[in-house]
């Protein structure tokens, strides 16, 4: 799995280079802010930084460019009534695929051919694993694209929110399913022709596809603290501009345009990551720097320190996330090797799974167990804990920073709201306690009254009860008298 290993090592290295570069530039930038040279130095620094970033990305096997193309394709693919059109499209596609599949099958018939020359030609192609993969990827592309395209960033518009969410979940699940299919289809084909072995698999496995599969399976986007922090940052900066009025309109427009452009690319892999850092840096300059001039001198230093802190937190978070993802990717790659070896062995004996869904089930089960084992390790648990902490610290620091910016404007700050909530909570608690005490007093009083009433009633009852006795006694007396009279 040498090519996969190199891929991940390159990937981690690229991330590292990018964040280091970003840190260095951010620090320089902040020094310049403090020195009041931002306007003259900013552009120059940005260009230099951008150049470095581009070099980093170029060294990364063109993966980012590929993702960028996909992003563009998806954004351009926006349609009204998307899912209805998709449904019609799918119905037609079924028959088209059946024909296409037949042609695909025929095109590879050389592997099974009785013609030794055809077979040899195909076998030579087979030996060139990369070309083989490429052939298959191209062949599958038209088919899988047909299925994937409709599941772009669109959201269905069903009456039920749960149905909408489910459709979204189907979309994600389907993308993973297709990624797995793309990855393994060459293996299946090779197995069909009994030329497959696990070493061939290692050459065939496309690491870029594989990484995309893992990203989709684990929703790294959802885990990504940078994305969450960025969202928060965006909200805060937007709120700040909105409160600043007309003088900030120009800056706000530029910020908003940039955010919208950037947001359209959020769900992607490398492109997302690099764009993320680039935009944070860029937005940092364009959106926040003008307000240094508005800030009293005493606060500027504290603000810059906070920004430094925030930059460092972003970088630390990016590095931790890269490490966590690396753990997942490498674990997954090992599992796939195992699956390939098992598959090769079964294929050799003619016992391999006969349908892709059965293969998918087996793949899920093996991966599920292996990843649970990985998640149980101290290394994963600690990394995850550190990421969550960094995410929380980014939030806290961002809040502080925004409060510093907004402190001099007539807006209610988050900390002030928190104070209000706290006071409200404490007062309500006091009222509640007093209410309980009051209820207890009322209850005691009622109980006391009831007791008093009961005592009076008892006394009265004793008196009343005594009367008949007296009566009886008097009756007795009367009777006695009467008797004596008799």
């Amino acid at each position: 799995m040498e090519n996969t290993k190199n891929f991940f090592e390159n990937w981690v290295e690229t991330q590292k280079n990018m964040v280091e570069n970003w840190t260095e530039k951010a620090q320089e930038f902040q020094k310049n802010v403090a020195g009041g040279e931002i306007l003259t130095k900013g552009t120059e620094m940005y260009q230099e930084w951008l150049k470095k970033q581009q070099e980093n990305i170029k060294s990364f096997a063109g993966a980012a460019e590929k993702t960028g193309e996909e992003v563009k394709e998806k954004v351009e693919g926006t349609l009204e009534n998307f899912f209805d059109q998709w449904k019609t499209f799918q119905e037609k596609a079924v028959s088209v695929w059946a024909d296409a599949a037949k042609k695909v099958s025929e095109s590879f018939s050389g592997f099974n051919s009785h013609n030794p020359f055809d077979g040899m030609t195909s076998f030579k192609t087979m030996m060139d694993a990369n070309k083989y993969q490429e052939m298959w990827t191209n062949t599958l592309k038209s088919m899988s694209d047909n299925m994937k395209k409709p599941f772009s960033a669109q959201t269905a518009d069903f009456a039920s929110k749960t149905a909408n969410d489910t459709m979204d979940s189907v979309k994600k699940g389907f993308e993973s399913f297709m990624k797995l299919y793309e990855l393994w289809a060459p293996v299946f084909k090779a197995a069909e022709n009994k030329v497959f072995n696990s070493e061939e698999y290692k050459k065939m496995m496309n690491p870029v596809l594989y990484k995309e599969l893992m990203d989709k399976m684990f929703g790294f986007d959802a885990l990504n603290p940078l994305k969450k922090a960025y969202d928060q940052y965006t909200k805060n900066v937007t709120a700040m501009y909105e409160h600043l009025g007309s003088s900030a309109k120009e800056g706000y427009k530029s910020f908003k345009d940039s955010v919208e452009k950037f947001s359209s690319k959020l769900p992607e892999g490398e492109a997302f990551f690099t764009e993320m850092l680039k935009n944070i840096n860029s937005q940092f300059k364009t959106s926040v720097s003008p307000f240094f001039k508005l800030m009293p001198d005493g606060k500027e230093k504290a603000q810059i320190m906070l920004m430094n802190e925030l930059s460092e937190l972003y970088v630390a978070s990016a590095n931790k996330l890269a490490k966590l993802q690396y753990l997942v990717y490498t674990k997954g790659a090992k599992i796939n090797e195992q699956i390939a070896e098992d598959f090769a062995e079964k294929a050799r004996k003619g016992e391999a799974n006969t349908d892709f869904e059965a293969f998918y089930t087996n793949w899920i089960n093996i991966n599920g167990k292996a990843f649970e084992d990985l998640f149980r390790t101290n290394e994963f648990s600690k990394l995850q804990g550190e990421l969550v902490t960094l995410d929380a610290q980014i939030r806290t620091t961002t809040d502080k920073l925004m409060e510093m910016n907004l402190a001099q404007y007539p807006v209610v700050l988050k900390s002030q709201l928190d104070e209000l909530y706290k006071t409200n909570y404490e007062l309500k608690k006091q009222v509640y306690e007093m209410g309980k005490q009051m209820a207890a007093i009322v209850k005691d009083s009622a109980s006391h009254k009831a007791n008093a009433h009961e005592t009076t009633a008892k006394a009265a009852s004793v008196k009343t009860a005594a009367k008949p006795v007296q009566h009886k006694a008097s009756e007795h007396k009367s009777a006695k008298t009467a008797s004596s009279k008799k």
Binding site: V104, A185, F218, T354, E372, F375, A392, Y425
Partner: protein
């Protein structure tokens, strides 16, 4: 060798056909309704509500039962749909049932503590039922985290609880059998609560999803096979609705629960303090029915079963339910076995 390219392509075509049918069914799905058993609001304070389920007949078990669900997710799981409702089942078996609804904490509820939940809301609800029903003590049924609350409550106010039933309830947090138990020990809870204030339900759901790493993939596969069956799809959608309906957590309560219980296991050690009360599980002397799920990946048996060793009750029973955490409430076995087992246990102690 049966693997053929054409077969694979045909399989993909079949997948597509299923998706098309499923799409139609999803499009036609109306509002997804859960928790439809009739009930009346009988008490409310802040965002917490107490419901009393409606009965057409007099209960055959006279001691009323209060169900205290977890703060995580919603109590609707107990009444997901008419044929998968433990609540409805218990009503049919003759119980008089009340339910706590903890509501949806917002930023203003970030300061609510464990003390507020146990000595405040839960205690008020218990008192309200005692008063309404004219009884000294009620039966308390706690589920998951709501079971932990119930055990704490029963230890503080043993005189108000006639019977205690705990279902998949974490008590001993020293175990690392469940991933949550392990991960929680590596979390900086203070940083988390300070950062979020009110901890988002989405954050918790992300963690739950990772407990079964291939869940998304297997869910897709299962969904694919049922999407064209309207009835099964509706069952699936109700469950999805429940999963995604995840309230935020009041920050201070979350802080104490995670630090004192998950990280320091203070309840099992007898060191937990809630408000002015030190919680001693030995004070639980009433009859105890402790129900646990043998395959529970959220709250492993190693955390639930020790309760029977910690309490002071002489009348105590451990009930093993074969299945997972959620299966306890919605599995067909629940309706056939668990409901009647609870009724039988309570009936024997309803004198």
């Amino acid at each position: 060798m049966a693997v053929e390219t054409k077969d694979l392509a045909e399989e993909m075509a079949e997948v597509s056909e299923k998706l098309v049918k499923g799409y139609e069914n999803l499009k036609n799905a109306g509002e997804i309704l859960v928790a439809q058993t009739p009930k009346t609001e009988v008490w409310k304070r802040d965002k917490v509500t107490l419901y009393h389920y409606t009965r057409d007949t007099k209960p055959t078990i006279k001691t009323p039962v209060l169900i205290s669900y977890a703060l995580v997710n919603r109590q609707d799981m107990m009444d997901l749909q008419p044929d998968r409702s433990l609540v409805k089942n218990l009503l049919n078996l003759g119980l008089d049932v009340y339910m706590m609804d903890w509501g949806y904490p917002g930023p203003a509820e970030k300061y609510l503590t464990l003390d507020d939940y146990v000595n405040g809301y839960l205690n008020d609800a218990v008192d309200m039922i005692r008063e309404e029903q004219g009884v000294d003590a009620i039966s308390l049924m706690g589920v998951c985290q709501g079971g932990t609350f119930s055990a704490i409550y029963a230890a503080i106010y043993p005189e108000k609880i006639k019977n205690l039933i705990t279902i998949v309830t974490p008590i001993d947090f020293a175990t690392n059998d469940g991933l949550l138990f392990k991960w929680a020990k590596d979390m900086d809870i203070d940083a988390l609560v300070d950062g979020y204030g009110t901890v988002p339900g989405e954050f918790l759901n992300t963690g739950f999803a990772l407990l079964k790493p291939m869940m998304q993939a297997s869910k897709f596969q299962n969904l694919l096979n049922i999407m064209d069956d309207e009835g099964k799809l509706m069952n699936y959608l109700r469950m999805e609705k429940w999963i995604n309906d995840s309230p935020n957590q009041a920050g201070e309560c979350y802080r104490q629960f995670m630090k004192d219980l998950y990280q320091h296991n203070k309840l099992a050690k007898g060191q937990l303090v809630v408000g002015e009360h030190k919680v001693n599980l030995k004070n639980i002397t009433m009859p105890l029915l402790n129900i646990y799920a043998s395959e529970d990946h959220l709250v492993p048996p190693a955390s639930t079963t020790p309760l029977n060793d910690y309490v002071g009750s002489k009348d105590k029973e451990l009930y093993k339910f074969p299945g997972g955490h959620i299966g306890v409430f919605v599995g067909s076995r629940t309706q056939k076995e668990l409901g009647p087992a609870i009724e039988k246990w309570l009936a024997a102690r309803d004198k």
